[in-house]
Each structure stands twice: as C-alpha cells, then as structure tokens.
C-alpha cells in the first residue's frame, strides 16, 4: 500500500531480508537455536534411514503384475524382496465384501452408489427444503441400505432358489469386509452424536433424576472397555434373554458401539457447553426463546463448533475401534485381511495385507480429519480472537 505521507510521518520499510523467503523460513523454523539445529539434523538422519528402504520395498522392488503367489517367489520358493501387491489385487474383493456371497456383491455396490446419489443433492448450496431433505435422507438411507445388504426374499432351507435368487436374504454373519467396517462406523457416528448431545444436556439439567441418570449412564459406559462391551453383547446378553428371544449379533454390536461412543461424545459436547458464556443464555431468554429453541438455535450451534476437533477425534477413534468386532467373530476390514493372510494360496504375504489395512485406515481417518478442518474454517465467523 502506498499512501501519501503526512509531514514528519515515517515511511513503511520492507523487513530485513534474512527474516523472509526460504532462508528466513529455514532459519526461523529449523535452525533457530543450536538445539533446534541438532534436532533438525537428527530428524533428517532418521528420515534418510527409513524412507528410501520403504520406497524401495513398496514401489521400486514391488511386484505389480501376475496373478499367482508364484509370481512373487524366487525359484527356490522363498519370497522376493519387494512388496507383493498382486496378493492385494487377488484379495481386494474379499477385503471389500468379506464373506458376502460372491454373486450378490452388486447389492453392496448398489448401496454404495445410492449413498452418493442420495446425499449428493445436499452439496447444492441453495437447495430448497435442504434441512428437511437432509433429515429424510439420514432416516431413509439406513432402511434402504439394510434392504440392499440383507435382501428381502426368504426361502425355506433346501429350496433351489435359496442360493440363486438375486434378492435372497443374506444373514448378518455373512456381512463383512470394508462394507461392514463402514456400516458399523457410520451407524455409530450418526447415532452417537445426537445421543451424546442429549446425554450432555441431561447431565447439565436442573432436574435431579435426569442428571443423575445421565451421569450414571456416561460413567458406566465410559468405565468399561469397548472390548468388554462387545463381549458382553455377544456372549452374556443371550444368557439373560428368555428362551427364543434372539436378536441379531450385528445389531447387538451396533448398539454396544453406539452407546459406548455416545458416552464419550456426551463429555465432548459438555466441554463445548461449558465454553458458552452465560450472557448467551440470558440474551436468548430475554428475547423469549424457550429452552429447546435456545439450545437448538443459540447454544448448541456454538458449543458444537467449539468442539469439532474433539468430535472428529472421537469419530476417528470409533472408526478404528470397530476392528474390535473381530473378537466376536465378525469379519470387518481387518478380519477380512486376516482371512486373506490365512489363505493357503497366499501364505507368507501378511505384511502386504497389514500394510494395505494401515493404508486404508489412514486414508479414511485422514479424510475425516481434513474434512473437520474444512468445516472449522467454513464455520469460522471471526468471533474467535486468534
């Protein structure tokens, strides 16, 4: 900016060269003191030791073409140096669908396409009745997805169509792979947020019964490891149910995961509620808003915004914790990968399987984290003093 100077006013000067540009950045961030310089050199050394071999293994020496384990092996039967990605190629369907019947995989694909088709309109900025549509889709989609996964035509055992009909029922213990992981994670995520909000509001309620119940619920579920919850749900619960009453193992796991993360979510939301100044409540009350409107329009939008990082943190934790369903005999993504590792045709390539699992989990978690950053930036209205 060049503005006319008043008499005696000092002109703006550019900053000293050593504080800007590449050199300035390096000096500021990597070599600001002898200790920092030492740490920088140490870090460079570690990177030098670890990155090139990884690239060598995963990319340069890797085997990309072929279709059999033989292609990854030396003539003497020992495995070649590089990563055997053809194993992943051969098993990718297994990873995605687990034990789901091979000829019905298109139903899972259809559910995946539908999720995109149904939620895509929400990306339109000026969609009329957007909120109504959003709520409708969130309520409707699970039903649709359930129909896709489960099918709806039942046959008596032994009927010829029982293994060919395109809409035959697939029991939940056959669901698996990445599809199952995404299913458990998204149900857990979508259901635990509203439940957590209710629990957080309940915990702060002036009504002693409501707040006591909320505190008990939260502390009880938080005080137990998820693995115990899942174990109880699959082994113990049926013992307590009357004879003949049996509800689905997957459903029990879903409820367990949801309630477990709702307890965590409640505490996260409570943290956000505590950050809202009393004046906001008073202004809302003075304008005549009742409790529900005050919470829904004034308090929660602000409180949730404060805790987006922690909410996403909980979601990411939940996403990874879904692997624990392997304990109760369900083959989620990790379970499917272990299934592949045990495939007699592909013995000896477990490292590739686990590396691929790590990569997939990372991709999902990292995108959640990026999305949360974007959301924070979008919702930032300049009221934070940063």
């Amino acid at each position: 900016m060049t503005t006319a100077l008043d008499a005696g006013q000092k002109a703006d000067l550019p900053p000293p060269a050593a504080t800007v540009g590449v050199i300035g950045w390096l000096r500021e961030n990597l070599f600001s003191s002898w200790f920092n310089a030492l740490l920088t050199l140490f870090a460079l050394w570690i990177l030098y030791l670890s990155i090139p071999p990884l690239i060598q293994w995963a990319l340069i020496d890797a085997i990309w073409t072929g279709s059999e384990a033989q292609d990854c092996k030396l003539p003497d039967g020992s495995r070649k140096e590089g990563a055997c990605w053809i194993y992943i190629k051969a098993w990718i369907g297994g990873y995605a669908y687990g034990l789901y019947p091979y000829d019905l995989r298109w139903r899972v694909d259809l559910a995946a396409v539908l999720v995109i088709v149904m939620f895509a309109p929400l990306a339109i900025k000026r969609l009329p009745y957007k909120t109504v549509y959003g709520v409708a889709v969130i309520l409707l989609y699970p039903v649709v997805a359930y129909m896709m996964f489960s099918g709806f035509v039942e046959f008596p055992p032994g009927a010829p169509e029982a293994s060919t009909h395109p809409w035959r029922v697939v029991p939940t213990d056959k669901w698996g792979g990445l599809a199952l992981t995404l299913l458990i994670a998204s149900v857990g995520i979508i259901a635990s947020l509203p439940l957590g909000i209710l629990l957080a509001l309940g915990r702060r309620s002036a009504m002693p019964i409501v707040s006591t119940f909320s505190v008990l619920f939260i502390e009880l579920w938080r005080g137990v490891p998820l693995i115990t919850v899942l174990f109880m749900s699959s082994v113990m619960l049926p013992l307590f149910l009357p004879e003949g009453v049996n509800f689905d193992k997957l459903l029990r796991a879903l409820i367990g995961v949801t309630l477990f993360s709702a307890a965590y979510m409640a505490e996260v939301v409570r943290g956000g509620l505590q950050a809202i100044p009393k004046g906001q409540y008073e202004a809302a009350q003075a304008l005549g808003l009742n409790y529900a409107k005050m919470m829904a329009l004034i308090v929660l939008p602000q409180a949730l915004r404060y805790v987006i990082p922690s909410i996403v943190n909980t979601f990411i934790g939940l996403f990874k914790d879904t692997t624990l369903v392997a304990i109760i005999g369900m083959f989620d993504l990790l379970g499917a990968i272990q299934l592949g590792n045990a495939d007699p045709k592909w013995l000896g390539f477990a490292i590739e399987g686990y590396a691929f699992a790590a990569l997939l989990y990372f991709v999902f978690c990292f995108s959640m984290s990026r999305y949360s950053l974007r959301l924070e930036r979008k919702l930032h209205t300049g009221h934070k003093k940063t």
Binding site: A283, L289, K293
Partner: protein, 260 residues
C-alpha cells in the same frame, strides 16, 4: 463522568397507565439479602434511570423484571401480567420486554441480520421475509444497515451495542431495559449508543436504564432512582435529584461520581 449527550429538552411521553408495578419485592442470593422491599411503579412512556454504587442491586432489580433473576417475595406485575413461576406468564412478559446488556451478548455465530430476525421468526412465527424487512428498518434506525451481513465479531463495540438495541426492538417491545449499556464501551463509542437511546426515548418508549452516564440521566430521564445496599434510597426528577439530594448516601454518591 463525561456528559456525552447534548442537553436538549425532551418532551415527556409519560402517561397515567402503569407499565410495571413492583410491590414489596425481596430477593436473596443464598444468605445475602440483595434486594430489600423494593416498591416501584413505572408508567407507560416513562424514562427511568437507575443509579447507585456497584453492588447496590440495580442490575439485579431490572433483571427481575424479565425473570433473568427470580424474586422470592413480593410481586412484580408487567403490563398487567404477574411474574410467577408460570412459564406462560414469563414468556408473555419476555415478549413485551426488551433487554440490552452491558456486554451486548450478540450471537456470534449469526450475522447481524440473523441476530435481529431470530426471535421474530422463532418466537413470533413471523415469515422470514417480513422479519428481515422489520430488521432492516430497525438497523436503519440505529444507522448500521450496511453491516447487516457481517458477523458481530467484525463490528466495533459501539456498533455491536446498536445491533443489540435493534435486535430487541425487532420484537416490538413495550418496555426496554438497559443494563449498563455503555459501561463496556471505549469512550469514543459511548456517544453513538447514547444517541440511539435518546432517539428511542423521543419516540415514547418506556425505558428503565441502569447507567452511570449522568449527562444522559439529566437530559433524558423523567425520574432518577438511587439505590444503595439493595434499597431504593431516593427517587426524584433529575433537576431536583442533582440539585437537592435528600439523603446523605445520595450526596456521597453524587460527589464521588461527578467530581472525579
């Protein structure tokens, strides 16, 4: 204190109709007796300034009028409706009584316009278009229509307080309560807020103002109420109040606030 408002005669809109009637009202915070036997009648169109040392209960008193604080004894009748635990009565009174706070308390996640339209839309069930029209009208009146689409965090303190006034006015209240509206403002912004309040007074709004702005009190108030230690010590017309304070406590207070 600086008298930021130019003295000018204000016609009195005071009528004989009662807007607020407080009889024998007491309030305790735990063991602490904050308000002692408050008796006060406010007439429609009347402009009352409440002053007194800090901790004297003046804010608490006006906050009782829209039930931000609950009184424990006595009665408060606002616009013919008695304040009890009945939620319907409280809602009815809050719809008629606007309030402006020391720290503005704008909703930071909503734009200025949304701050103004929120209550009309959700409490009065006004269609969004109408609410926006009304809001723009009041934003014009407080002279910041051009800030309508900004967020409160992007405005100065004086502008925020004017938005807060507009936000209250959008509910078309019969009574406005001001709880130290200029105390959190930088000195150069006090005038713009006081000017807005003077305009409001000229239009005949019933106002109860807790403030230390004695210049404002002198020119705008019909009556000044002096509170100390939870009691109404003295009330009088401004001229008499400043010229011939009756009680020693008032005299002490005035000497402290006017000659520092």
């Amino acid at each position: 204190m600086t008298a930021a408002v130019a003295p000018r005669p204000l016609k009195s809109a005071k009528s004989d109709e009662v807007a607020i009637q407080i009889v024998g009202m007491h309030k305790w915070f735990g063991e602490f007796h904050v308000l002692k036997d408050i008796n006060l009648t406010v007439y429609k169109g009347e402009r009352i300034v409440v002053c007194g040392p800090s901790g004297s209960g003046k804010s608490t008193m006006i906050r009782c009028i829209n039930r931000l604080e609950e009184h424990q004894k006595g009665s408060i009748v606002v616009d013919g409706v008695e304040l009890t635990n009945n939620v319907k009565n409280i809602d009815a009174i809050r719809r008629e009584v606007g309030m402006v706070f020391q720290h503005f308390n704008l909703f930071p996640h909503l734009t200025v316009l949304e701050n103004c339209t929120l209550a009309p839309i959700w409490v009065k069930k006004m269609p969004k278009k109408d609410a926006e029209e009304v809001a723009m009208q009041y934003l014009n009146r407080v002279r910041i229509p051009e800030q309508a689409l900004k967020y409160p965090g992007q405005l100065s303190g004086g502008q925020q307080q004017r938005v807060a006034i507009a936000r209250s006015l959008c509910m078309n209240p019969k009574i406005m309560l001001f709880d130290e509206p200029t105390s959190a403002l930088d000195p150069e912004m006090i005038k713009e807020v006081l000017d807005t309040m003077v305009n409001l007074a000229e239009e005949g709004m019933t106002m109860l103002v807790v403030t230390h702005e004695m210049g404002f009190a002198r020119t705008v108030a019909n009556r000044i109420i002096f509170m100390d230690r939870g009691e109404i010590v003295e009330q009088n017309e401004p001229e008499e109040f400043f010229k011939n304070p009756k009680s020693d406590r008032t005299r002490l207070f005035l000497s402290q606030i006017l000659h520092h």
